[in-house]
């Protein structure tokens, strides 16, 4: 379990993180979402002990990472943003170096290297120099070095950045699979990336947590008004006017793509389902659709981060 409690960090006069708190249960995936410069990488650097927080604590399985950073580092596999690698080394040598630096020796070393070569699909480039690799392979080698010591905790900063769709799906599947035995935090500024792997999302913006929950919760929290999709058999302006006449309706917009369909909005406190039903019945219209609309995740993200950007 990872617990981040009241963590703040400033760079000079810029507050990168401000009282950030969240936790991740063991063998769960947490998606860390936020626009560029929101503080995602700073939070990850603090969890991995690369940076010290100005205040607050980070605990892994109850152990404060600042009290014993070396013990914390042994448990963590970390892929920093842009997957930094030694360009002058061959892939095989680089991974062996990281494995040895993480204390692996003998049979254990060979077994783990074999495992990461296979699982991250880097076997075909083992004898290539890192500076000859494509972006996708660089990312995979970065992931391989994070996994080589079989850590309990994986911290992945933008692991799918710059990859093509096929590679992205491969990395997503791998993260999902790893999450069965590891606690994973991975960041992205792209919502689709996060929601494709996990529904537990923390949204950070301007150094503060602006939302923490499951995707459905976040969509619900971003709802500022009720929205309904209504389709009648009745054509024309009469239905739109009748909808506008219902008490509490704030707006009615025709769907430009589907005939006789309207998007009707009302304040959160006003439930329009019963009045719309009665309207159809009283006019003898067939009500073909009456569906409450929740914000998409993209809309929720924009709503939750609106006005808080740097």
């Amino acid at each position: 379990m990872i617990e981040v409690q009241g963590v703040s960090k400033s760079y000079g006069i810029t507050k990168a993180l401000d009282q950030v708190s969240f936790s991740v249960d063991r063998n769960r995936v947490l998606g860390f979402l936020g626009p560029n410069g929101a503080g995602k990488s700073t939070a990850m650097k603090i969890i991995t002990t690369y940076l010290s927080p100005d205040e607050g604590t980070v605990k892994i399985e109850g152990q404060d990472v600042t009290a014993d950073p070396l013990a914390a580092r042994r448990r963590i596999g970390y892929l920093p943003e842009a997957a930094p690698l030694y360009d002058d080394m061959r892939v095989r040598d680089y991974l062996e170096f990281v494995a040895q630096a993480r204390g692996l020796t003998g049979d254990d070393l060979s077994r783990r290297l074999d495992w990461v070569h296979d699982r991250t699909h880097v076997r075909s480039v083992l004898y290539k120099k890192v500076n000859e690799l494509s972006k996708g392979y660089r990312q995979r080698v970065g992931l391989a070095q994070a996994l080589v010591h079989n850590p309990d905790v994986l911290i992945l900063d933008e692991p799918t950045s710059g990859l093509d769709p096929r590679q992205i799906i491969g990395i997503r599947n791998l993260i999902r699979e790893l999450a069965e035995t590891k606690t994973v935090i991975f960041s992205s500024h792209i919502l689709a990336e996060i929601s494709a792997v996990t529904d537990r999302i923390v949204i950070i913006n301007g150094g503060k947590i602006v939302a923490d929950g499951h995707a459905e919760d976040l969509r619900g929290r971003a709802m500022r008004e009720n929205r309904y999709r209504v389709q009648f058999s009745q054509d024309g302006a009469a239905a739109a006017d009748a909808l506008r006449a219902i008490a509490g309706v704030s707006s009615v917009e025709a769907d430009p793509e589907i005939a006789n369909t309207w998007l009707v909005k009302s304040p959160l406190a006003t439930d329009l389902r019963r009045p719309v039903n009665e309207l159809a019945r009283s006019h003898g219209w067939d009500l073909l659709e009456l569906a409450p609309q929740r914000p998409t995740l993209e809309e929720a993200f924009i709503e939750l981060t609106a006005g808080r950007a740097h």
């Binding site: 650097k45 070396l70 963590i76 080394m89 170096f97 990281v98």
Partner: protein, 241 residues
Amino acid sequence: MKDVGVIFRREMGAYFHSPIAYIFIVVFLFLTSGFYTNGFFLAGVADMRDFFGTLPLYLLFFIPALTMRLWAEDQRLGTFELLMTLPMKPWHIVLGKYLAGLAFYAIALACTFTIPISLMWIGHPDLGAIACGYFGSLLLGGLFLAIGIFVSGLFRDQIAAFILTLLACAFFVLAGTQFFVAILDGWVDGLGSFLSSAFAVNLRFEGIERGVIGLDDVLFFLSFSIVFLVLNTLSLEGRKY
């Protein structure tokens, strides 16, 4: 100390994976041995005084070239973050990098053993003095390397690291020159003399390469080297805050 070995092997590999190592050794040999043999044939004396006498000057340029990438390269590539999140004590990483630089320098220095071997063949050189000269060269290079690795840790730009290391090492050499002492004493009474006694490496190096190894001279080189390695470690740890 296993960690030190892992970093040492990685850094030694980095030297020899690039053409820089080979260029460095060839140019180092060409300049040091080339200029030495020129004077040797004029003087006709079977010793290496001229070789060791000019070595500090060459090292002013060669050592910064060796150390400029030690940390600056990691910062440029982003591998600095990788190193600092490995389960290793920062001073182990510093020591591993330093020892790799020292070993590489020792290899370059060992390539000049052809000179004493040639001298033994054509005359009767004082081997004790020559051995002392090499020992002093290792101490002097070790100090310059420690300065270089510390400066490299302060910069992302290798050229900046090179220039500042050169200037810092030059200070340690210039501090022992009469010219420098006289000027500074002229500005502030006793300042030049103080700096000379506290920092001058060439005076201490000259003593060793003559065959007189004083404990204070050895401690001078070792203690200053340790000071810069500790400063390097502290500067790395200070970056967390």
